[in-house]
Symmetry: C2
Subunit: 217 residues, 2 copies
């Protein structure tokens, strides 16, 4: 017998996770199509399929919570907004960087909101948030070209700032439109405002990602 | 210890299967993005991920055969040729139909060439060729609209003929450029020419698929 949903914010969170996983699938599958070589195309395609596998876990979780999976997912329809129209990558490097930056922020958002979940959510979310290797893939691809071409590095730093602005806007909109999500966070701690704590976490994560590439955020 | 490759035609076949599976992943992921509703988007995304899972089986098989997986796959680079440029779907129905027709032909090609394989190939290929539900999905989506709108049916019949021409060209090119593939087929039987038998099989499969939609091939 399914467990009753005790907290509608948990259903919101299942919807958010599902929407980001589905968007990550779409994004990585598209990136794979543009990969300059076969091993890259296969690797990114596999990462895409891995993101989708998490969607199956989330649908089962929704069932256990007696929640409507497509309702929860549909509540985040349009989450990505105009990201693709507003930030069309100009080349392969910008494409890699865009996914690294934007899904870096969104994965951090998933992580920030999932820090203190009861079972069985914590297990599923732990699986979802496990490293899929994409960041390492991008760092391995970009580091040598950034080192060899300072102009490219400068362009990618600028591009990263543009993409992160859009990604932070997506995260902010998700929180604004689904304010129950923030109730999943405790109010204790040094900073009382949970939304400010989330924003702080997302900015910090982005700075660390840019630092891995030797670029300033 | 890996088994030695005894027959280079078998490596060609692993490459062909791999290339078609990877292309099916890309195609279904792209179709998913255009799905008019969330359940359709999720269903097609899952089918895409399923096609990619078969690629993992094929890579392991290449390893067992002591063959270079990326070499085998790369030999079919460009297999799909200009399909997407030459047949851009005008709407969702044409998109569904295109994948149904083109990958119907390519799956039939995989099947025709894989009829009489030794272990462990036969197991892997049996998994790859198992029905992924896509044809039923398309038939369920198109049948009512074709029944309700005869003009749409006529347009889709015409579109199907255009797409099948391209798809048969892809199959023919694969056989022309990799003539060892045909050595996997016996030469006995009522028709001696294996290439003619394959073409006959592909045309018959296409006619059955159109018939399922109530359209003439």
């Amino acid at each position: 017998m399914p467990e009753a949903v005790e907290n509608p914010a948990v259903v919101d969170l299942v919807g958010l996770h599902s929407s980001i996983q589905l968007s990550a699938f779409t994004r990585l599958a598209k990136d794979a199509q543009h990969a300059p070589d076969l091993p890259g195309r296969v690797t990114l395609s596999r990462m895409a399929a891995g993101e989708l596998a998490h969607l199956d876990q989330l649908e089962r979780l929704a069932g256990r919570l007696n929640a409507d999976f497509y309702g929860a997912l549909g509540a985040f329809d349009g989450l990505m907004g105009d990201l693709d129209r507003r930030t069309p990558p100009g080349d392969w490097w910008e494409r890699l960087m865009k996914t690294y930056v934007a899904f870096g922020v969104l994965t951090d958002l998933q992580r920030e909101l999932s820090g203190d979940l009861p079972a069985p959510l914590d297990d599923v979310v732990g699986d979802i948030l496990a490293d899929n290797g994409h960041a390492d893939f991008v760092v391995a691809a970009l580091t040598p070209v950034v080192a060899a071409e300072p102009q490219l590095g400068a362009r990618l730093a600028l591009w990263g700032r543009r993409v992160v602005g859009e990604a932070l806007g997506i995260a902010q909109r998700a929180l604004d439109e689904h304010p129950r999500l923030l109730t999943l966070l405790g109010t204790q701690g040094p900073e009382g405002d949970p939304a400010a704590r989330v924003r702080h976490g997302l900015s910090g994560g982005h700075a660390r990602r840019m630092d891995r590439l030797g670029l300033t955020a």
